[in-house]
Each structure stands twice: as C-alpha cells, then as structure tokens.
Symmetry: C2
Subunit: 291 residues, 2 copies
C-alpha cells in the first residue's frame, strides 16, 4: 500500500464508539442526564450537548455521569452570535462566549462550536457583520487557549446568512482561520457540517485544504431532503436525502480527520415526534450503512 | 473625472425605461398581453415573460403588441432542466430548449435564461448533474448562435441545489462559460440575480470578473427577507429585506453592464395577493429609491 493511500474505512460499521449524538437530534425533550444515558446505552461513544441543556444542571456532576457512562463530549453547542448594533452588545456576547468556554472546559469538550451570527439587528451590512465576527473570534481566541478548548468555526448554509451566520462556506471559514491564527493551529479550526456545505462546488478542494492545514475539529452529519419544507427544522436522517454522505465522510477522513462523527438533525415534524430510543436506533443504523 | 471612475448612477430615479418586469412578479394571474399593457402603462421599458405565459399565445401577434407598447423583452424564462436519469430524457430537454430559443428569437429576447436543474431523478450524484449541465449547454450553444439569442446561465441559491440548479455560485457559472466558450463570448454569459447570490463572500470579485469578461447578460432584483417563510415563494420586494441592493446594482453597472434591470419576485402570500397595478407601482417606487 502506498503511503499516501486513503485511510478511510469503507463504511462506519462497528464504529459507533467513534460516533456522537448532538442533543438537538432528540429534540431537547428530556433532561441531559437522561439523554446521555440513552446515548450511551445505544452504543455511542460521544455526545454533544447544547448550552440550553445545561441550564440548572450541575456541570461537574454531569461530567462524572458521562465518565461513568463512557461518554466523551464531541462539542459544546454553540456560541452566542458576534455581530450586534452596539459595542456594548458585542462585548456582552464575548463575555457570554467566555463563560461558555469555561463550561466546555469543565465538560472536557473536544471543541466549542462557533455559529457566528448573521447581520446585526437592523443592518444590511454583511461586510460589517463579517468584520465583527473576525474581531469577536480574535478576542475569544486567547480565552480558548487559556482553558484549552479549541474554537470550531462552522460555516452555515447560505440560507442562514441573514439571521444565523455570515460565514457561509468552508473556504471563507478557513480564510478566517488563516487570518486569525496562521501559525498556532491548536485553538482555531472548523466544524464541517454536511447539511451546510454539501452543495458547494468547492467542497472537496476545501476539505483537502482543511485537512492539510490540520483545521478539522468536528464533522456533523444529517441529510438534505429534496423536498425541504422548512428552512430550519426539516433536516433529514442520513440516507433519506440526497447528500453523498459516504463520499464526503471518506474525503474528510482521508484529509486526516479521525475525530468524532456527530449526528445533528433538526426535524420538528418527523424525528422529534418519535421516541428517543427509536431515533437513536435509526441514527446508529444509518451511520453504519449510509456514512 | 478619471477614465476608470465608476459609471453607475447613484440611484435609478427616472430610469424606469431601463427596468423590466418579470411576469412571475405579478403571479401569472392575467394573460400576458394584459400584463404587458400594464407594464408599459406603468412606465417600464422591458418585460420578461415565462414560457408558461406563452401557451396558446400567437407569438408574432404578441411581439407586435409589445412593439406598439414600446416594450422590449429582457429575457425569456426559462430553460427546461438538463440533468435526467436517461439519455433519451436529456435529448428531449435539449429539443425543448431549442424550441424555446426559437420563441425567444421571435420575441427578440435579449437572452434566454438557463435555470439548469438539480440532481437527476433518484440521483445523489451532483458531479454527474453538473457534467450533464455542461454537456447540455454545450449542445445548445450552436442553436443559440444560429437564432441569435444568448444563453444567460443563472446561478441559483444553494438551497435549490437538489431540485432546481446544481450551479450555485457566480464563480461556478463563469467557470462553465469559460469552459464552453472561452473566445466567442456573444452567446454565453450569466444572469446575476440578487436573491441567489447576495450572501456570497466572493460576490464582488466575481461581478468584477464577469464584467471584465463581458459575460453579464442579465441582472435581476428582489430582496431577501430576514424572516423567510418558504424556500421558493417568499421573496421580498426591494427594500423590504436585507440585501445591499444599491451597492450590488452599482457594482454590476460599474463592471460595464448597461442592460435591463429585471424585477423577479415570487411572493405567494404577499405580492401575489395584491392588485397588479399596485405591485407595479411598488416595483417602480422601490427601483427608483432602493436600487
């Protein structure tokens, strides 16, 4: 075998310990400790909680339970948006993100996911929003290094450019990484979510770049439904949509990524109406057969 | 004034004769001859019919009416999709597009808009779809030259990559133009629609490229609503959304474009419920004040 031969496995069969369940996939219906137990019981090795799951929760106790269950934390979801109309509001978002980074450190999360925000309130200035994102991440980076949790900048689908993320492509996210931490790559990289980037004609080139630059901190799967009924809450289960999941997953692995593969599905009318155990079984089955 | 100074005007006030109404903006509620009369009466100099408007219509008579009304045709909307599961179906789509080009020539349309299609039926192979698009346009190009109607390749928003267009960015569209007609640029170019490209971090660079390469054949305006309720039928009237319309319009003009500015708004629950004359008045007002 040549030394530069692909290292990805053909499928993920038998690799559930490498896979993670993002708590949103279960619709935030149960307390996080119960969700975590179910995720572990279903055979997964990782979990990704949202900050909303942690409200009122004693984080050290949760971390001990996760240890008992053999679960690691693939990411903490997610940042407070950076762009705002006033400097005060921007400063508050930085403070809030710092506090979340502290929590991520307590959970020993593999990364803190940055969903950066779209346009500031009442603004049409996308360039200004992007500048504020760059400034905000730059400010946060020291704290990330201090607490030892990398920032995973996640480009979101362009349909969220106005309200959720003015960072819309993997190329753009990697350019920001290069700008802010050209040399020390330990604390700033990207999260690649199939749902957001599958359409991009530049995808495989940028996955290769991200791998060469050792920037891939997270990899999220779901599926794009050909008949998508809602811009936010109609993601598909892997295999139910049109994304070349296995091809993209293997490209990410071949780029050198060997971290967790996280299932993140917002599906108000389908998967969030089903029993949590059934959703977890479907995730396991589809990860093993489609990814 | 320096010779390379921008040539765009500050606003479009007084320039309705340069502006066009795409018939979809009025919701396809009236016969095209009545729509055309209203568009002319409202002061516009151009109209863009859809092929569905022409079913059962005597095209030479319509052309004579448009001449009487002083209306030119900014584009004929739009191509039959190119990707299909079988070679037979692909051949039929080419034949259908050739017939539409003949109609476009009868109407003396400034261009024929190519909305190229997404994935073939039952397919997840985006590369194959893109190859079929390139092959299809390549095949159509001779006929376009023969009848003298340029093909305007329109990149569509990435949220349509599965079902409407596997060409998602202006860069990608221009790459296809370069591939298929690197030298003779008369019959292949792009239509730039603000709704589809406004989010692109690469937008202004690619507008500049398109202008230098003399590829801009059409320019469409509407607006992206921050709270978009439907993936297809919830476009905003200019000024009601978040797009930097004036900045983009001026960039397109500064790139050397002096053709029609076409309003294309799909708005099932808002503008399609209002009287056609009221919609046309709003278009005129917003073009003059926001674009």
């Amino acid at each position: 075998m040549r030394s530069d031969a692909p290292v990805s496995t053909t499928t993920l069969r038998g690799q559930l310990q490498r896979c993670s369940i993002n708590s949103a996939t279960l619709g935030h219906r149960s307390p996080i400790d119960r969700v975590a137990r179910r995720v572990a019981d279903a055979g997964f090795g990782w979990i990704a909680p949202w900050r909303r799951d942690l409200e009122g929760v004693d984080v050290p106790s949760l971390r001990r339970q996760l240890d008992d269950d053999g679960l690691r934390v693939s990411s903490l979801c997610r940042s407070t948006f950076f762009p705002h109309a006033t400097a005060d509001a921007r400063a508050r978002s930085i403070d809030d993100n710092k506090a979340a980074l502290d929590t991520a450190a307590e959970l020993r999360a593999a990364c803190y996911v940055l969903v950066v925000g779209g346009l500031a309130e009442g603004s049409r200035d996308l360039d200004a929003a992007r500048d504020q994102v760059i400034e905000g991440i730059g400010t946060l980076l020291d704290h990330a290094a201090k607490v030892g949790v990398p920032l995973a900048l996640e480009p979101l689908h362009p349909m969220y450019a106005a309200d959720r993320s003015c960072v819309s492509t993997l190329r753009q996210a990697l350019d920001i990484c290069d700008l802010l931490s050209p040399h020390d790559r330990r604390f700033l990289g990207v999260a690649i979510d199939i749902y957001h980037v599958w359409w991009d004609p530049d995808l495989f080139e940028q996955i290769g770049r991200a791998g060469r630059d050792r920037r891939i901190l997270g990899f999220h799967v779901s599926d794009w439904l050909r008949e998508t009924g809602d811009l936010l809450l109609d993601r598909g289960m892997m295999g139910d949509g049109v994304v070349e999941l296995n091809r993209i997953r293997r490209a990410v692995d071949d780029a050198g990524y060997d971290g967790p593969i996280e299932v993140e599905i917002f599906s108000r009318d389908t998967w969030w109406t089903r029993a949590e155990e059934a959703v977890l079984r479907a995730c396991a089955d589809r990860l093993e057969t489609c990814c």
